[in-house]
Symmetry: C2
């Protein structure tokens, strides 16, 4: 797993207290080491969305924030496997599940390395949030760096697969990123369903739907905060479903 070590956030180390609870409330919740044991007895463990936050961040949002949702500035990233629908008609489901596992695991690795959370997984796709609950003022840059890692790690992992049924078609990932205001919280009375909603989320999703294999499409708002990461990236004018005006996106392709 050479690619694993390449993106491990070793410069930060594994957090001993939940970085989300600390950033949001300045409350130290132990998540590693002996101090974490009594918390574990009460069901407070490391979150599956990011191992440096705890389940309080995701499952008890309304108790922490004293309201069911809050406004926040964030960067939203969507990624999915391009051509998965065609693929799912051609190859065995057992192979599909391998591909989905590789994709989900590599994406999580890349997103965690840059302090994002894997908020939703949906078969061959996922949605990540940057700047909540772990605060990163450079969240647009963090998301782009995660996207570059996603592209690199997935290209390595998916490229190794022997997929005769692809007939030479490359199996690749498309990513869409947008930064802006979102509403974060739980939007259902029947389940703890911690997520982000709003126009920012939908635009990120629409950008992703237009990304070709290997591409990262970022909005102007994300590009404006991206510094050097977006410099030189060509602009593409997109007509997106449900959005009245054409959207100018910047196209970033991982150069390896």
């Amino acid at each position: 797993m050479t690619e694993a070590s390449a993106v491990q956030p070793s410069h930060r180390g594994d957090a001993r207290i939940c970085r989300g609870c600390w950033d949001q409330m300045h409350v130290p919740i132990p998540i590693r080491g002996p101090l974490a044991l009594p918390f574990r007895a009460f069901g407070i463990t490391r979150s599956k969305m990011n191992p440096n936050i705890c389940t309080i961040c995701e499952r008890s949002f309304r108790y922490v924030k004293k309201q069911s949702h809050v406004a926040a500035s964030a960067t939203i990233l969507f990624a999915d496997i391009r051509g998965f629908t065609q693929l799912s008609e051609r190859i065995e489901r057992i192979r599909l599940s391998e591909i989905v596992s590789l994709f989900q695991d590599r994406c999580a690795q890349a997103i965690w390395a840059h302090d994002g959370i894997v908020n939703k997984t949906m078969g061959d796709g996922l949605m990540a949030i940057f700047n909540f609950p772990i605060v990163r003022t450079d969240h647009a840059q963090a998301a782009i760096r995660a996207a570059l890692d996603i592209q690199r790690l997935c290209a390595e992992a998916l490229g190794r697969l022997q997929l005769d049924d692809l007939k030479g078609q490359p199996l690749g990932v498309g990513v869409g990123i947008h930064s802006g205001d979102v509403e974060i919280g739980e939007f259902s009375s029947f389940r703890s369903d911690f997520t982000a909603i709003g126009g920012t989320v939908n635009l990120a999703s629409r950008l992703e739907s237009q990304a070709e294999a290997g591409e990262i499409l970022i909005s102007r708002d994300t590009a404006d905060q991206a510094g050097d990461l977006a410099s030189g990236a060509p602009t593409r004018l997109l007509t997106l479903k449900g959005i009245d005006q054409p959207v100018a996106a910047r196209v970033i392709v991982n150069q390896g």
Copy 2:
């Protein structure tokens, strides 16, 4: 909440043992009443995906099935709010969250009433599975009945909202349904992410993306198992992204 009582599965009553564990393993896991208390102490509670199944069904899939995923025949339902992207650009996020909550709750109510599980929620959309873990040999019909309830309950709930920003545009829900073989299980090494994948899932999602507000688009495979529920429903030929051949879908509209 008159609409609530209309779809409560009162003829079945609230299950005292997990219907999923019973149908899959013939093991009685208490989920209601005093016998459920010791199980609760071990973290086994009613699932948020369906209150008649337990968390063993979703969180411990690989321990129950002794493998990380299994093949199953199922009906997949996708639903989302039409025009939500436009809406999210026009109205306050706080109103958006109300709409999402209404939608999610009404959908869950309808899906549970017909023994489906709410497997994924994604902001203004969701995915449901019928015939797993609760076995329903008439899963295609169950899904269509759930879709009819979704349309009726959401029309009532969303119709009551005073949304001046909509400028007379109706706020409606689109539904897509397809039946076939899926791979069910956990497809990620880093999280318990119980879901279904495969071409069946993707086709259901594509059908939903083509459904207008108020419409339920069902595939031919679902229609073939639907009996009277699809009789008289017009056929629409669709060109779907990622699917080579045009797809003939049947269009069902709730007559109220």
